[in-house]
Symmetry: C2
Subunit: 272 residues, 2 copies
């Protein structure tokens, strides 16, 4: 999916919500554990209940990897279900990968070709040749970690390199890489005031914003500093939606949570 198609979906559905499928086998309703593939059953129910209120889904790969081969099967079934039932939805592999060139290429193939994700999150520490193999794929996005939503972001990301913060250096440097038009960036919602600074460097690129909800960020703040005329935002919420309830109607309650966020987003879109 191209950025333009994503923007069109956002205006059409009046939402820029991304639902994080951080599906933890220890946190899903226990009655699902008797199903053949509890993780997929949970994801399917969440997707069916929330798809009208979001434009994207973001499985965090750690939760699937923790289950080994069976986790990979659940992940594959989930992405195939999305492709078949809701092909208009954008998909993000939250993998935070990055390795030397020939190895990054293996990761890119795994997530873009075999699993067919629209995008993947990538860590910048190893630089240009660790990221470019992801950027080579047409109509796929590479979402570079810039400023993350956790406390540890202050350890290195906000440290000054040549007089400016490392996360700014990362963003600026990445603009010179081959196929940089395929870049998006992760910017945590808990640091909304930084969005204004970031928009000076990348006025148009999409930003994936985690940390609204469970991690304490505010949607209004994020939009105030980060929204563009093409929206340019995917705001993620995971735990606040998918674990809103552990009762038998968990999906319905997740759907209501997603719809509530969609309604807030409608108000923000109306301001454009």
């Amino acid at each position: 999916m191209t950025s333009q198609e994503l923007t069109e979906q956002i205006f059409k559905k009046q939402t820029f919500l991304c639902v994080g499928l951080d599906t933890d086998i220890d946190k899903i309703p226990t009655y699902l554990l008797s199903e053949k593939d509890p993780v997929f059953s949970f994801n399917k129910a969440i997707i069916d209940a929330t798809h009208q209120s979001c434009v994207a889904y973001k499985p965090n790969i750690a939760f699937y990897e923790a289950l080994g081969a069976s986790g990979w099967r659940s992940l594959k079934k989930t992405i195939e279900y999305l492709h078949t039932e809701y092909p208009e939805l954008y998909t993000i592999a939250d993998a935070k990968r990055g390795d030397i060139g020939n190895t990054s290429r293996m990761y890119a193939k795994a997530f873009f070709e075999d699993l067919g994700f629209d995008s993947i999150t990538v860590a910048p520490y190893m630089g240009k040749d660790s990221v470019e193999p992801f950027l080579e794929f047409e109509n796929k996005h590479t979402i570079l970690l810039a400023l993350t939503s956790n406390e540890g972001a202050y350890d290195f990301q906000t440290q000054k390199v040549d007089g400016e913060e490392l996360y700014k250096k990362v963003i600026k440097t990445s603009l010179d890489w081959n196929n940089s038009e395929n870049l998006m960036y992760v910017v945590g919602a808990t640091k909304a005031e930084y969005l204004a600074e970031i928009r000076k460097i990348i006025p148009e690129n999409f930003l994936l914003v985690p940390g609204v909800g469970a991690q304490g960020g505010s949607l209004e703040e994020v939009c105030k500093y980060g929204i563009t005329s093409n929206v340019g935002l995917l705001v993620n919420s995971s735990r606040k939606i998918i674990y809103a309830s552990d009762s038998s109607n968990f999906a319905e309650i997740a759907g209501a949570k997603a719809e509530a966020i969609q309604n807030q987003m409608k108000d923000e879109l109306a301001k454009l």
Copy 2:
């Protein structure tokens, strides 16, 4: 395995070689493709032929992930084979993971508990709370990316932060984290002269040194600047060993390559 036990193994076997199991289905001898699990068959043959010349194996997870669920099965069979047949060998999951705390914990469980690796490589960009969940595991090592062997290392790692290079800042900062005694560091062999600088900060910690061989680093240089009285080095070679031949005696040739490196290492150990 503790660092002390690893040192004992090194002196006993007279080698600090780590063999990288970057097993690419497109590069292994084609006659193996008719086997039930070609990746495992290849790994088993390589391990049987090289185990006397090395102290560690390092599967790069990308190569397994690229094969989806079947890749995870091959990885699991490989690590189980090592645990059963050669329990004295140290194992490294070259995964370069790192995420917010609760997610890093999932990765740690996947690699330390489910797969039973002795160690995992981790990226530092997200800081303290993305790494500490790995450090909590007793008798397990977290191998932090400091200075990698690729060109892109110059994009950020060697940039100055507060007057010193980012990779030094990463190492110094990490020493204050909980359970930092469980840290090792990745330092590329293509930058051997940096090892002297690094040894001023961490005189004792083990360093995992990739880039000897295919990537052009020299073992002699690495030892000159990096070796300690407890050795403190694991020098990795992947492609130069495992793909030394694609004929039916590929394993034997790999074994000879590993033994040749072991012989060089014996000379270096004799200097201590």
